[in-house]
């Protein structure tokens, strides 16, 4: 059974309150108040009141005045005026000024109150749904904004670099200089390519469906090693892998790989160039209910004030090896989809540890 709609009725005549409650308490959750001070108290305590009925003629103030007063503090409940007199002028002006959803004549017929509640509640639901949708849209819109913003930098950036390089190369005669330029152009192309792959990852996470299956961790690790083999070798990084698996690991392979790929790739990228003993330690523990993955490196580390920001879209904490600001955002998003989580700890100049948890069921 759906929850009863919560209603507040304010009237200085006790008999009316008793009568109202008696008629409607079975179908609705009815709260009553004898004066406006009491009403305010109830409204403060019950944020889930959907509809307020208020008598127009009360000793301390009129219903219209009361509604006008509470409108800013409690904008969400639907306001309905009950009046025994034909205060037509006051009612019309209140409705026109938007203080009041509708009015019911006193003495009321039950059917009038019920229809007022029905209509008011429909209006309330439509309004709050709209507010939620609006919020979602705003979020999507903000992301799109960020996206368009970054596209001009991350896609046009490498392109304009290559364009500029071509112009310069046309004037060069020295083969070595031309070769140097070609090397830099190659980096730009790679960067653009990596950006497009990340962008594809982004959409896969946003729209793709999970395919949970029994994960062969050894094979996954082999695949990750294959992908990064060149950069591991050329950067002289040692990759240590420890797997301790007691249970079958149920997960979506593509999403898991995306997480590991990004973390390992970052651990390679953000090494200290002059360190003779660069290492990455990948520890995976699969237990009942949960898998825990640690990716540890002894690289440049992350400044403390950036730790809370590194998972934001397009945020970059370092100028070393221009990243796109996509990677960790994708990792966090992917883990969110798996109902997992990620934590980071780091000592600047000594390295970073990323701890990933994924439910295993």
């Amino acid at each position: 059974m759906p929850e009863k709609i919560k209603i507040l009725y304010i009237d200085d005549e006790l008999n009316n309150l008793v009568g109202f409650k008696a008629s409607f308490r079975l179908d609705y959750n009815v709260l009553v108040a004898e004066n406006t001070a009491e009403a305010l108290d109830i409204l403060t305590k019950h944020s889930d009141i959907r509809i307020i009925f208020c008598d127009q003629r009360m000793p301390d103030k009129t219903g219209v005045e009361f509604f006008e007063e509470i409108r800013n503090w409690f904008p969400h409940p639907i306001r309905i005026l009950i009046t025994g007199y034909t205060d037509v002028e006051a009612v019309i002006s209140a409705i026109n000024r938007g203080h009041i959803f509708r009015y019911v004549k006193k003495p009321w017929a039950d059917a009038d109150i019920i229809s007022a509640i029905d209509e008011g509640y429909k209006f309330y639901t439509a309004h709050s749904l709209l507010a939620i949708k609006n919020e979602e849209l705003q979020k999507a819109y903000n992301e799109l904004d960020k996206f368009a913003y970054s596209v001009s930098h991350d896609i046009r950036g490498p392109l304009s670099g290559i364009m500029g390089a071509i112009k310069v190369v046309k004037h060069l005669d020295d083969v070595n200089e031309i070769k140097e330029m070609l090397g830099l152009m190659e980096n730009s192309v790679k960067k653009l390519d990596a950006f497009i792959i990340s962008m594809h990852d982004y959409y896969t996470i946003q729209r793709g469906e999970l395919r949970i299956k029994d994960i062969d961790l050894k094979q996954v690790i082999e695949d990750i090693k294959d992908i990064h083999q060149t950069s591991i070798t050329s950067n002289k990084v040692e990759l240590i892998v420890n797997i301790s698996q007691e249970e079958t690991f149920w997960c979506d392979e593509l999403t898991l790989k995306l997480v590991l790929n990004n973390l390992v790739s970052n651990a390679i990228k953000y090494q200290k160039q002059d360190n003779g003993n660069k290492f990455i330690e990948l520890n995976i523990e699969v237990a009942k209910g949960q898998a825990t993955i640690y990716v540890k490196d002894n690289g440049i580390g992350i400044p403390e004030n950036y730790l809370s920001e590194i998972f934001n879209l397009f945020f970059r904490a370092s100028t070393q090896d221009a990243g796109s600001g996509f990677g960790l955002y994708n990792v966090k998003d992917a883990l969110l989809k798996l109902n997992g989580g990620i934590k980071v700890s780091s000592v600047l100049g000594e390295g970073a540890v990323f701890k990933v948890t994924i439910p295993n069921k």
Binding site: Y149, S152, G157, P158, S160, N187, S318, T319, A322
Partner: protein
């Protein structure tokens, strides 16, 4: 004005190595450079500028500045630069180059007095020549 006086110092600030390299080559090729320094990190460029003794500042310098950079962006660099004494700022001409098509970025950087021009990337030789003239008229 004789050809010889049409020269300036250059400081290039860009987190993209390729873009720095292109700017260097172009400027060298044009023959307008006296002294040229490139920085991949804006904070280092700022330290460099702060470290130059006033007595060595007799020559005007053009700063070729990228806008979107991590850690310290072009805008943040300009903000810090504007805190320097006028006598020092006066010796520099900041020219922003960006691949961003974002209007907010553009109008924000335009609001700083020290930034004389904003150009679309890549940097090219045609825009450099008038800059050298303007830079020399500073002194």
């Amino acid at each position: 004005m004789s050809e010889k006086s049409k020269k300036a110092n250059f400081i290039i600030i860009d987190d993209s190595q390729l873009d720095c390299f292109i700017a260097e080559k172009l400027i060298k090729h044009s023959g307008f450079d006296k002294n040229m320094r490139s920085f991949l990190v804006a904070t280092e460029a700022l330290d460099y500028i702060k470290g130059i003794k006033y007595s060595q500042l007799d020559e005007p310098t053009i700063i070729v500045l990228d806008l979107l950079m991590p850690v310290m962006s072009g805008v943040e660099f300009v903000e810090e630069f504007e805190k320097l004494p006028f006598s020092i700022r006066n010796k520099y001409l900041i020219v922003a180059f960006t691949s961003s098509m974002n209007k907010k970025d553009m109008s924000r950087i335009r609001s700083y007095k020290s930034v004389k021009y904003i150009f679309d990337k890549p940097i090219n030789a045609q825009v450099l020549l008038p800059l050298i003239d303007e830079c020399n008229s500073l002194i």
